[in-house]
Symmetry: C2
Subunit: 350 residues, 2 copies
Amino acid sequence: MPGLDITALERIGPLDADAVVAARERQQRLTKPAGSLGALEELSVRLAGLAGQCPPPVPQRPALAIFAGDHGVHAQGVTPWPQEVTGQMVANFVAGGAVANAFAAQVGATVTVTDVGVAHPLLAGEPDRRIRAGTRDFTLGPAMTLGEATAAIATGMAVANELIDAGHDCLLTGDMGIGNTTPAAALIAAFTGAAPAAVTGRGTGVDDVMLAHKTEVIAGALLRHRPDRADPVAALAAVGGLEHAALAGFILGSASRRVPVLLDGVIACSAALVAQAIAPDSVLAMVAGHRSAEPGATVALRHLGLEPLVDLGLRLGEGTGALLAFPIVASAVRVLRDVATFDSAGVAEK
Amino acid sequence: MPGLDITALERIGPLDADAVVAARERQQRLTKPAGSLGALEELSVRLAGLAGQCPPPVPQRPALAIFAGDHGVHAQGVTPWPQEVTGQMVANFVAGGAVANAFAAQVGATVTVTDVGVAHPLLAGEPDRRIRAGTRDFTLGPAMTLGEATAAIATGMAVANELIDAGHDCLLTGDMGIGNTTPAAALIAAFTGAAPAAVTGRGTGVDDVMLAHKTEVIAGALLRHRPDRADPVAALAAVGGLEHAALAGFILGSASRRVPVLLDGVIACSAALVAQAIAPDSVLAMVAGHRSAEPGATVALRHLGLEPLVDLGLRLGEGTGALLAFPIVASAVRVLRDVATFDSAGVAEK
């Protein structure tokens, strides 16, 4: 895949088998009935395998990265929100006034906002990582060139590497882009084979008429471009978004460093499918933060084989679902590190 | 109800209507699509009504209270674990080696352990709050006298008041008691009218044969005692446990101070039904932390009208599910306090 960091992609590999065995055995010896922590036990085992040690490091410095972009398909009337809101919300994140900021403060996460393609930016990004002022309308042609999609992926990988180099030990995906559930649904249909109607949802507030139209727009784009998951960057360029591409790179970057990456909602899930198609073992670094109310998220999570940690009907994006899940992930790992064994605590077994 | 703090119970009342209206209106003006925070929006509205102000205080000093007791019905072979484990686990909590300690450290919660009836204590409780060395076998007679049940409720209320007086602003329920899912199931059947088979589960690891026997034991006790939810303390005394009674008091104490109380799993849910029968508005202070894998928990939550925040197949108890949910509750409240409005942030509406 020309333009991508092949060395980094080649580092994305299987779990460390010894650490997996050690973690599974340790879960059996801790002072609790075997299996009583439900889904958290397997999560801790996987994170041991990802880190290559048992216990794995407890994530203590989470970083949320919000990627923002606009969408040419906005012109087709797929959302009731004006496109200006993307840039206004970027300013809101920077000022600390969004829900993602409130949730980040609760869990001690830093918030980074990267403009990869806002149509009407209010703030100058520093460094400037804008690839273009929004994608093209994919009902008329590809949303991005291959070069633009590749550049957005590389930007996401660079952000992941910078955050990890700065000491962050758990990355969280965030997104902002008015209309971005439309390309997300198109990507999910393309990468899972699901029908457009099964993956298209109401986003941030679409009525019945607009939902039917949105579904038609997506179905039409799939017919026009015939995106093929065997050629994932081309499929992404055809019907994706700049923030979706950057998130795919961010996930790949995190996986290449063997750092867990918490997926937020449907935008992250669509990007995760792209990442999986580029490097299948990247799924081993992914933790599904929550189940978005968008139907495509559930279709994507099933395809990825991931069970979400939180399921509260959220449909906001920004990284809010990933932020809610972070303390659960840290708690799961703490068990392997901090809990006494039956022997050490002098507790009888059944 | 003789022996209970009537003044405290009379303070348990409805939500403050003005604060509820203010919170609901504020949720509409914040920079997010209306309804996009799903279940967290109504939770924040309710906590505003509980506090009587909008925004309500963000809970920042959570306290987990673990109540420990043993059960005469253990003699009937309803669990594979030896009774000694209750006292051993109390020592493990005090030493900081249990899963509840690890989860509490993650969310910044203090952990208090109260022995209200451990059969084989290893540590002297300070202050001594032991009511008796485990309940009586309820297949032979009432598990507790009315006086013992009332004393355990009063103990739970006292612990709640002490923690709130010490500055804690959110209480979390925890429990330890080998065999305590058996009285929990009996209480849930008694207070909801559900059939014993619908509320009896595998606890911490019961096989098919023991599950059938456990269900029979519970059905037999219900036939023998005919516990009546119209006389909740008598029903609790007949088929409950000392920690269940203390938890009911703990919930009532928190509600009487208008402080939110996070319910853990099936033991807490059974105690919550008792609290609800004593003071119906106490439900308004309850937040369901998680959905325990025990079937009775779901039956009880439905009866209480509560939706759990976390649903990960946990069946450990100790307060682990409540601890995982705490950051979600705090995040929901932070939204009302910290998030900008469309006007203040200069963000356009749809």
